[in-house]
Every structure is written in structure tokens, then in C-alpha cells.
């Protein structure tokens, strides 16, 4: 087994299995620990510039990744016209840059504010480092290897699907540029550490709030109380 096979054929499965098992285990045994652990209460100003830029930037980028992953043809079709390709690439780049700036502000804030340092765990630092590598590699790819939206759909997406099909096709990715390889492998690292960090908060996006009634009443005697 070559190193490439180990990295692209085995490592992803390790990450995915650990992530699923550990996330479930943590959710079932220690639900209290599921929290965004917001620190806005301790520091408000810098968080605004960091958190808003980071979250909106990364959500936009992630959505694009997801659409490309689920329906790669749509991206390829969109990119047929150069103008549309430029629009997509520019939008993606700006969002990536937004996320990067936000992340840097957040890192700066976490390292320099004494109140925030008190609520910073080693896993927070680990997570920030991994995220920084990921975003830098992503933005770097956008700068140095253009039209990533097209070749993402042509190379990385088939590779990801091959993993899901339990027939990992290493040849699709092991010859990609170094930055891109870092981006792919680091993504799996991110998946790996997900259940051991505060990142789990993205699993509890409170989307239900939009259609639920405003007021909630729990009856002890009318219905079983099982943790909501």
C-alpha cells in the first residue's frame, strides 16, 4: 500500500467513522457539552467583525462546495459561459477572503484578550489552526489554480463520491497540486476532530425555530419527559 493510498484511501474512512461514532457518543452521553460556547458576553466589539465575516463567508463557501458535490453538472453547466464562470469564481473568492479575514480577527481576539483566553481550551486552539490551514489552502487554490469550481466538479467530486461508494479512486486526486492536496486532507482532519471540539454546534442549527410556535409549555403529567 502506497502512502497515497493510505492518505486518500484509508485515512478518510478513519476520519468519517471516528466523527460519526464520537459525535453520536458525545450527543447521547454528554448533551450538556453541546454548545456554541459563545464568548460575546465577555467581548463584543471584535467578535462582531470576526464572527459575522467568518460565519457568512464560510457558510457561502460551504454551500458552494455542497452544491458542487451533490449536483456537479450544475456547476459545469453554469461555468460554460466565461462570464458566469468569472462571476462564480469572484463570488467564491470574495467569500473565502471574507472567511479568512474573519478567522484572523477571531484568532487575534482569542490570543490577545485576557478574558477570552480564560475560556479558550487547547481544542479551541487546535480547531483554529486546522481551520486556518483549511481556509488558507482554499483561498490559495483560488489564487494560484484558477477555475477551481470547474475542476472541483471534475476531479474532487468524483473522488468524494468514490469514497462514499467504498471504491476510493486515489488517482483522481493524488496528482493535484500540493495546496489542493493539503486542502483535501485537512478537510478530513477537520471531520476527524469535529466531535472533540466546539464545532459540533453547527450540527444543532436551530432551523426548527422558524416554524415552531413562540411559546413552549412542558407538562410533567401529560406527556413523557424525555430530553427534548
Amino acid at each position: 500500500m502506497t502512502v497515497d493510498q493510505l492518505l486518500y484511501g484509508v485515512f478518510p474512512y478513519v476520519c468519517i467513522v471516528v466523527a460519526i461514532v464520537a459525535t453520536l457518543y458525545r450527543y447521547l452521553t454528554d448533551r450538556f457539552s453541546y454548545s456554541s460556547l459563545s464568548s460575546q458576553f465577555l467581548e463584543n466589539r471584535q467578535l462582531f467583525w470576526g464572527s459575522v465575516a467568518w460565519h457568512y463567508g464560510i457558510l457561502g463557501v460551504l454551500t458552494a462546495h455542497l452544491v458542487g458535490f451533490l449536483i456537479p453538472q450544475s456547476i459545469l453547466w453554469w461555468n460554460m459561459e466565461p462570464v458566469r464562470l468569472y462571476i462564480l469564481e469572484t463570488t467564491g473568492f470574495v467569500l473565502g477572503l471574507l472567511a479568512l479575514v474573519g478567522l484572523l480577527v477571531l484568532i487575534y481576539r482569542r490570543l490577545t484578550n485576557s478574558r477570552i483566553r480564560v475560556v479558550t481550551s487547547p481544542m479551541d486552539v487546535t480547531l483554529l489552526v486546522v481551520l486556518l490551514i483549511q481556509v488558507v489552502a482554499g483561498v490559495g487554490t483560488a489564487i494560484f489554480y484558477r477555475w477551481g469550481s470547474s475542476w472541483y466538479s471534475a476531479f474532487a467530486v468524483p473522488y468524494l463520491w468514490s469514497i462514499l461508494a467504498f471504491k476510493p479512486d486515489v488517482t483522481l486526486v493524488n496528482n493535484l497540486p500540493f495546496v489542493v492536496q493539503v486542502h483535501i486532507l485537512n478537510a478530513f482532519v477537520l471531520v476527524l476532530i469535529l466531535p472533540f471540539t466546539r464545532l459540533v454546534h453547527f450540527l444543532s442549527v436551530p432551523i426548527k425555530y422558524i416554524w415552531r410556535p413562540h411559546q413552549i409549555v412542558r407538562w410533567n403529567r401529560r406527556s413523557p419527559i424525555i430530553g427534548a
Binding site: 459563545s38 460575546q40 480564560v118 426548527k208 425555530y209 413552549i216 413523557p224 427534548a228
Partner: protein
């Protein structure tokens, strides 16, 4: 009619001496942990004053509570989509500095400091960072500081007072203030519950206590912004919100909450009231000046056969209905119409009621003798040291008439008792007063007894909580819970291994 029971509260402000015993009792039981040092689920404020957190009543700043929108109401700060869009940074969230930075003193320096020319001192250090700090604020920082240009002058309730009224309020040597103890109001239309995206906050159906399920809380912090009374708090250490739980573990064992139990002035009353939950939205959306009246209307008579029928149909235990009949809160709020909610204009339908303080000038000192100006009893309400408008801003959404009615009743009871015991007030005057307020001598006597001479059991009429039924219905088998330990299901029972 959807009849529900609510454990409701009443504070008699004329009796509050501002000793903070309630706050300390609460702190020692519930908020002595790291992350909660700054929290005072029960706090006592000096009014006029800026309160805790500073200027909490300034909803231009904090955007708490509900505001009318077309035929109904909406959350002022964080409704649904707009709220979710602000989830990464909330524009109106108070931060620790709006409360105060908790501190202790470095006492070890008193012992460990090297010998020198100066006395060693214990410097204040932050309980968050451990660094040296300057103390700029505390939980009752403007205690007794009425008249202060830094604090009392910034009281948001002074906004629509005339210059003359303000001058009278802060006139030197005639300064006036009173205390306002505050806990969670356990509202009927709680903004905290409505604002929580995770659905962690809820109202208990059986007794109306508003609680927060920390296993569901994800630190989105909307409850802190939404509560106009700023009575949900964010624990910066655990990353979860917390709030007053009305000492439900004590209530469930028949004891009043710690702040009630420890109250030195015996100002606190607790009892269950029945209310019609169908009316919540309609009444919370009513015009400002009707809010107090409608909320009173929403509280139902526990002796009315129709109410009892509906309550029982709704699963309200008969023992709770019996308890409601003896509730001192029912008497003060509904029967006698003397207790008012704090800031009804926030439209959360708070279920903690206050008897406003009777602070008019009733007598004057002449040649060293205290004279009661009997003729001027009624007139003196207008010359009151606390302007009526100020009390109205606090308790009736600005409606002076409703405050006046309450104060007149308080005066009527005093005059009635004084004429009976001291006999220096003309009986005709007392009669006029009773007629005007609609009180009878018997009612006056009853109000007097429940105000001045109530026993412990008359002040706290705690309904049976019937946890025994709850345990059986939770999973069918009460034995399932026998071996459990701890609160809130954190501890598993010792199960036999596989």
C-alpha cells in the same frame, strides 16, 4: 377557556427595607459557582436608580420584550428570521460590563507580602481573569444613591417627568427613594421562551415556572437579549444560560423559595392563581393603557363553579384549586386590586406583582411635634414626594389613574385603622375614603391583617406539586426512578452490567 395554574408572587414595597437578605440567600444556594459570580437571580434596586444591569429598563438600548405589530405583537429584538440572521453576533446583547466584572481580593498578600515600610493591602482581582482590576460597578452599585447625577438621574423612568417633578424628587434633604426587589417574573408570555431558537426554555404546565433546559441550550443567547427584565443570564464558563428557577426543588417539598423564606421585612407573598391561557395573545396585544386591567381580568376566580369545572377538565388538581382559593396573591391582585405588575408595557404578562410604595407626605413636623394633616390625606397624594407619574411609569405603563387607585386604597386602610386605634381622624372622613375606594371596613381589616400580621402560612400558600403523579406518568414505572441520583438526569442509576 383554557384554565391553567400559575405560582404567582407579590412584593409589598412599603415593607421592603433594602437589606439584600433575599439576594444573599439566593446567591448562596444557586449562583456561587464560577461563571455565575456576576448573576443575581434576585436583586434589590434603589429607585430612582439605574439598576442592574445598568439601565436595564432602557429598551432603546437592550430591545427587550415585545412590541405591538399590526393586530398582534412581535419580539422587539430577535424575531424569527431577523433573529437567526443575527445569530453570529447579537447587536443588543448586554455584556459582562453592563452588569459588572466580578471580583475578589487577593487576601494572601496580607500574609505573604515581604516585610516593608507599608502595610500590605489586599488588592481587588478579577474573578474572570485573575488580574488586578479597578472596581467600577457592582450588583447594587447605586444602592441608596437617589439624587445622584451619575446614577438616579439616568433612571429611564424619569423620561417623561416634568422638570418640577424631577426637582421635587431630588431636592436636597428631601430626597426620596424606595427599594425594588426583582426576580424572574415567570411571565405568561415570556419573551425568553419565545426567543430561544433551540427551544431550551419552557414554561412548566402545572405551575407556570419558567425553566431553561441546559441540555438543549446551545448558547445562542437570545433569551438574554429578549428578556426585558434581564433576568436570564449567560454563564460565561459553561456556555449555557441560566435563570431563576423559583426554587422549584424547594416548592416541590412545600417550602417557599429561599428569597421569600429569608425576607426580613416579610414583604413577599406567594400563592397560586388560575388564569385563562386562551387570552394570552389577545391581552398581551392590547393597547398600553388596558394591559393592567386585562391581566387582572385574565386571572380567574377559583371559587367560580365554571372555572373549577374547566380547571379540572384541564388536569388542574383539586388540591391546587383549593390552594388558589387561599392565595394571598389572588386577594391582593384580583380581589382588592392593589398589586400591579412591573412594566406591563413589555407585554410579557409578568406574574410577579408589586404594591407600590406609599410615599406621599402624610404629616409635617411643627415645633417638634409630628402633625397628621388629616384634612389633606387625599390631597396629599398629589403633593407626594414620589411623583405619581414615576410610579405609573414603573407599574402601569404610564397610567397615573391606576396607581392613584391603589395608593388611595392603601391610604384608606391606614386611615381606617388609625381612626380605630388612635381616633384622631374624623369618622366622616374615613367614611368618605371608604366610599371613594369601594372598600368596606371588613375588607380594610382583612387587608390590614394580611399586610401587617400575616403568619408564615398566610404569606406562602404553596400548592401541592404532586411530583408523585409526575413520576408515575413519566415512564409508567416509578421504580425506574428509584435508584437515580442528582438533579436533572445527569446521573445514571447503577445498572447491572451486560
Amino acid at each position: 377557556m383554557d384554565v391553567r395554574a400559575q405560582v404567582s408572587m407579590m412584593f409589598h414595597l412599603d415593607k421592603c427595607i433594602g437589606c439584600h437578605t433575599c439576594s444573599v440567600a439566593c446567591k448562596n444556594i444557586w449562583t456561587d459557582r464560577q461563571g455565575t459570580e456576576y448573576m443575581w437571580w434576585n436583586n434589590v434596586e434603589t429607585k430612582p436608580g439605574t439598576g442592574y444591569p445598568t439601565k436595564w429598563e432602557d429598551q432603546e438600548k437592550y430591545k427587550g420584550g415585545w412590541e405591538p405589530k399590526e393586530q398582534t405583537i412581535k419580539l422587539r429584538a430577535t424575531d424569527k428570521f431577523r433573529g437567526l440572521a443575527n445569530i453570529f453576533h447579537q447587536p443588543h446583547l448586554p455584556t459582562i460590563d453592563d452588569y459588572y466584572e466580578p471580583w475578589t481580593y487577593k487576601y494572601s498578600d496580607l500574609f505573604d507580602a515581604p516585610a516593608g515600610d507599608d502595610q500590605p493591602t489586599a488588592r481587588p482581582i478579577s474573578l474572570i481573569t485573575g488580574e488586578n482590576m479597578d472596581i467600577n460597578a457592582g450588583p447594587n452599585w447605586d444602592d441608596d444613591l437617589s439624587g445622584s447625577t451619575v446614577y438616579a438621574n439616568n433612571d429611564p423612568n424619569l423620561e417623561n417627568l416634568s422638570d418640577g417633578e424631577k426637582q421635587a424628587l431630588f431636592e436636597i434633604e428631601r430626597l426620596v427613594f424606595f427599594y425594588l426587589p426583582r426576580i424572574c417574573n415567570h411571565c405568561l408570555n415570556p419573551a425568553c421562551v419565545a426567543s430561544c431558537p433551540s427551544g431550551a426554555l419552557y414554561k412548566r404546565g402545572e405551575d407556570g415556572i419558567v425553566l431553561l433546559d441546559q441540555n438543549v441550550c446551545r448558547a445562542w443567547r437570545f433569551c438574554v437579549s429578549a428578556c426585558p427584565y434581564k433576568k436570564t443570564y449567560f454563564n460565561w464558563k459553561t456556555g449555557k444560560s441560566e435563570k431563576c428557577i423559583l426554587c422549584f426543588p424547594r416548592l416541590e417539598t412545600g417550602q417557599p423559595p429561599a428569597c421569600f423564606h429569608s425576607c426580613v421585612g416579610r414583604i413577599r407573598y406567594l400563592g397560586v392563581v388560575l388564569y385563562d391561557a386562551d387570552k394570552i395573545e389577545e391581552y398581551a396585544s392590547a393597547p398600553k393603557e388596558d394591559l393592567v386591567r386585562l391581566q387582572r381580568e385574565m386571572i380567574l376566580d377559583p371559587s367560580d363553579p365554571e372555572v373549577i369545572k374547566q380547571a379540572e377538565k384541564n388536569g388542574v388538581h383539586f388540591s391546587v384549586i383549593e390552594s388558589a382559593k387561599k392565595s394571598p396573591v389572588y386577594k391582593f391582585v384580583k380581589e382588592w386590586g392593589m398589586a400591579l405588575p412591573l412594566h406591563p408595557e413589555y407585554r410579557t404578562l409578568p406574574m410577579l406583582f408589586y404594591i407600590p410604595p406609599l410615599l406621599p407626605v402624610l404629616g409635617h413636623v411643627e415645633n417638634g411635634v409630628y402633625n397628621v394633616d388629616a384634612e389633606g390625606y387625599f390631597g396629599s397624594l398629589d403633593k407626594a414626594r414620589v411623583p405619581m407619574q414615576y410610579l405609573a411609569n414603573l407599574f402601569t405603563a404610564g397610567n397615573e389613574e391606576q396607581v392613584r387607585t391603589v395608593l388611595e386604597k392603601l391610604l384608606a386602610v391606614r386611615m381606617y385603622k388609625r381612626s380605630e386605634q388612635v381616633d384622631d381622624i374624623k369618622p366622616s372622613l374615613v367614611e368618605d375614603m371608604l366610599k371613594k375606594t369601594g372598600l368596606t371596613p371588613e375588607t380594610c381589616e382583612e387587608i390590614y391583617r394580611l399586610t401587617s400580621l400575616p403568619t408564615f402560612d398566610e404569606r406562602f400558600v404553596i400548592p401541592p406539586m404532586h411530583r408523585e403523579y409526575a413520576a408515575e406518568l413519566m415512564a409508567g414505572d416509578p421504580y425506574l426512578f428509584k435508584a437515580e441520583a442528582g438533579v436533572g438526569g445527569f446521573k445514571d442509576r447503577p445498572d447491572r452490567g451486560l
